[in-house]
């Protein structure tokens, strides 16, 4: 099978984390938001910084830069608001990014068996080979993403 037969043209959003660029499938991106107040409260999921309020929704902020580049982001220019499927629900997550994001069409090569779980695939853009991120593996969640679920889920209710 040739490389062209394996690849698949998809819309992706390129994001910058420090010096490196990564991509997320466009279907998982909600919007790009300006930095806003991060609300912090006591919790034990170290990957979550806090939450922001976006269109009435509480969205957790996960800085994935340290995991991907080894450094925390010094400057947060935007939040990329992304979605991920957790069990039967759609979960929103805010990813701090350090530069502009770009919507592109690119040929996506699926991840191989030797790739890290956070790699959903690869794309080539502007002479650069870029990781397409698997947010479920990269961010904490009950599906066993980057953090194990050790607590029971209390009933959720609307007042």
């Amino acid at each position: 099978m040739s490389w062209m037969e394996q690849s698949d043209t998809r819309s992706c959003v390129l994001l910058r984390l420090g010096e490196r660029r990564f991509a997320v499938a466009a279907e998982h991106v909600g919007e790009l938001a300006a930095p806003s107040r991060v609300f912090r409260f006591a919790h034990r999921t170290p990957e979550v910084d806090g939450v922001i309020l976006r269109r009435g929704r509480v969205v957790p902020v996960c800085d994935i830069a340290e995991k991907l580049t080894g450094k925390k982001l010094v400057q947060r220019r935007f939040y990329l608001i992304a979605t991920r499927r957790q069990e039967k629900s759609l979960d929103w997550i805010a990813l701090p990014v350090s530069g502009d994001c770009e919507l592109i069409q690119a040929d996506l090569t699926p991840a191989g068996a030797s790739d890290s779980p956070h790699v959903a695939g690869w794309l080539s853009h502007g002479g650069e080979v870029i990781e397409v991120l698997n947010l479920n593996a990269l961010t904490p969640g009950p599906d066993g993403g980057s953090s194990a679920n050790s607590g029971s889920v209390p009933p959720e209710a609307r007042a």
Binding site: H43, V58, D91, G141, E156
Partner: protein
């Protein structure tokens, strides 16, 4: 201060809550789950000291009827720096009393949002969810999340053995646990 249970005829979608502080952070608890608010001073002499190293957040028990109600330091429970506490919430239909710094205010919430799935550790037991009040996000505590059944059993055993050891002549009669 005795707190009455919220009146049923109130708006079906509104829930009365108490905003309280623990180590300078604000939390909310349903006022329906708080039976009584007491000053820490009022418990002087009425509380039994507990020294269980595996449960540092519980240092006292209050005898209520034939059972103990265990005083949980809210700041320690949430891994926050403990501050001088002023009030105790006696939780309704619970073996837990909650030691807090103070009450911020009483208000109502109309919407409780579930805790986002990214929070996947003990906080899922700690909180019923999050509410937004005046453009602030406030965690709403789960009254059942302060002590597990196993922890309550452990504390019952600890206080039971303390009571026996304090009985005059218990040792000479060979009483032990």
């Amino acid at each position: 201060m005795k707190l009455a249970a919220p009146h049923k005829s109130h708006s079906a979608r509104a829930e009365q809550i108490i905003l309280f502080r623990a180590s300078s952070q604000v939390f909310a608890v349903s006022s329906a789950s708080v039976q009584e608010v007491r000053s820490v001073d009022s418990l002087a002499g009425a509380a039994v000291e507990i020294n269980e190293p595996s449960l540092a957040k519980v240092r006292h028990a209050i005898r209520r009827g034939d059972r103990n109600q265990y005083v949980v330091n809210a700041a320690l429970h949430f891994d926050l720096r403990p501050m001088p506490a002023a009030l105790i919430f006696m939780l309704r239909k619970s073996r837990v009393a909650l030691l807090v710094d103070g009450i911020e205010k009483m208000t109502s919430m109309t919407r409780l949002q579930s805790l986002p799935g990214a929070f996947c550790h003990e906080e899922r037991t700690w909180y019923r969810g999050l509410t937004v009040l005046d453009q602030n996000v406030i965690p709403v505590v789960n009254p059942a999340g302060f002590l597990t059944a196993e922890e309550i059993s452990l504390l019952d055993a600890v206080t039971g053995s303390q009571a026996l050891s304090e009985l005059p002549g218990a040792a000479s009669h060979g009483l032990s646990l």
